[in-house]
Amino acid sequence: MVKDIRVKRIKNGTVIDHISSGQALNVLKIIGIAKEYPRTTVTVAMNVPSSKMGAKDIVKFEGRELKAQEVDKIALIAPEATINIIREYEVVEKKKVKIPDRVEDVLRCANPNCITQSEEIATKFIIEEKAPIKLRCIYCEREMSEAEIVRQF
């Protein structure tokens, strides 16, 4: 009787570890895996025990590395995530995401009456708090909560 399921190691791709528990599907939305790479092999583990975090999610996918803008977005909802770049089955690069002090041209302002909705300009947000995340639009000065951020993905 099979008691363990062994997941095959990925050859070339990315492993995102230490995702905040429950956010794995939002991370996949940010990357657009389902739309861009419908045939990519994706492994998702959710709410697995973690000595560091208590519980975490993990996402692995083949044949794809992350763009800088995607890493910035992931940092907003999974501030302790680690990005591992895999080539020929080896981890060639490992880095922790970092929430920047400002986020530019990554998110829409949640305020429908913000000037950024009607003028062609990049949005700019200051990170007011990191956990739970709170952003403030530098134009309209409204706050955006984690729920409003996640709704955009």
């Binding site: 009456n113 062609e120 403030r136 134009y139």
Partner: protein
């Protein structure tokens, strides 16, 4: 933002000010009220971009620049400009700033003044951006309190539409910086927005909240009354539920302090009855007058000719 000089500075949000900036502006306004040098801004032009209606703000800025020897240009209705042809805010600002030394802008969208300041090489003064900020109103409100009560360490009740009212957003922040006691009085659904409350908490504001106006009056030195901002409601039906929620009448003031003053940024609809105008508490028309020395001071400061 900490700045030692106002010259060239944009006046966009009261959140960009520190306590020293506020006191410096009030001091400059006092000097202007005593004596406004008639040629101080000779040769200077103010560009007025009013995308929304205005009586007091527009007229006081216009009068301010003229009293100091300068001129003004601009528009009071964007539909008379190429905005009617679809021209955006950025191009409009970049055009008008070529003809003037300082701009003042009122616009229905939040963040519009900040954007104008980003694209303009000339200083920009925010005369109201949507329901966000109205910093020069705050400065004249504080000046009114100082002139009428002789101090800024006061207990202020902010009453009415605290959600959409930009004047109370700016004023609450400034009062918190100055250590005033603040009571927030609003109908349900029009409470102060969370980001303003978050700012007030960071400033260790002495804050109380109530839905009952009668709870707030006896301990107040200042009632700051605001209109329910019908034009900002996304849903007109929601406005109908709250319009007329508060009305200050002479009877309402039965338990008020003798020295209580009542302010209102105007226009008013029905939130202060006309009978209150004749009481010793009403100061909202003096408040209108104080807008002039304050705006003269602001223009002189940002144009670098006042200290």
């Amino acid at each position: 933002m900490q700045r030692s000089s106002f010259a060239g500075r944009d006046i966009i949000s009261i959140r960009d000010f520190n306590k020293g900036d506020i006191l410096q502006t009030l001091g400059a306004a006092e000097k202007m009220e005593r004596r406004a040098p008639a040629q101080l801004l000779k040769g200077k032009t103010l560009g007025c971009l009013f995308f929304e209606p205005s009586t007091r703000t527009r007229l006081s800025f216009d009068t301010a620049i003229q009293r100091l020897g300068g001129k003004s240009i601009g528009f009071l209705d964007a539909q008379t400009t190429s905005v009617a042809k679809g021209e955006g805010l950025i191009d409009t600002v970049k055009t008008v700033e070529k003809y003037c030394d300082v701009l003042v802008i009122r616009h229905p969208k939040e963040g519009s003044a900040r954007l104008a300041a980003e694209v303009s090489e000339k200083p920009v003064i925010n005369a109201g951006d949507g329901s966000n900020q109205h910093p020069t109103q705050t400065l004249l409100d504080l000046y009114t309190i100082k002139r009428e009560l002789g101090r800024l360490s006061v207990s202020v009740s902010l009453i009415g539409d605290l959600k959409y009212g930009r004047t109370v957003h700016s004023l609450a922040y400034a009062l918190a910086m100055l250590g005033a006691n603040i009571t927030l009085v609003s109908p349900r659904g029009l409470e102060m927005p969370r980001e303003v409350l978050s700012d007030l908490k960071k400033l260790d504001a002495k804050l109380e909240e109530t839905y009952d106006l009668n709870n707030a009056i006896p301990s107040s030195d200042v009632l700051y009354v605001t209109r329910i901002q019908r034009e900002r409601f996304p849903d007109p039906e929601e406005y109908e539920k709250v319009k007329g929620a508060y009305k200050i009448t002479p009877d309402t003031l039965e338990h008020a302090k003798k020295e209580l003053i009542i302010l209102h940024p105007l226009p008013r609809i029905d939130e202060i009855s006309r009978e209150v105008d004749a009481t010793k508490h009403a100061r909202y028309f003096q408040q209108v007058y104080y807008g002039l020395p304050v705006r003269m001071a602001i223009l002189a400061l940002v144009l670098g000719v006042a200290k």
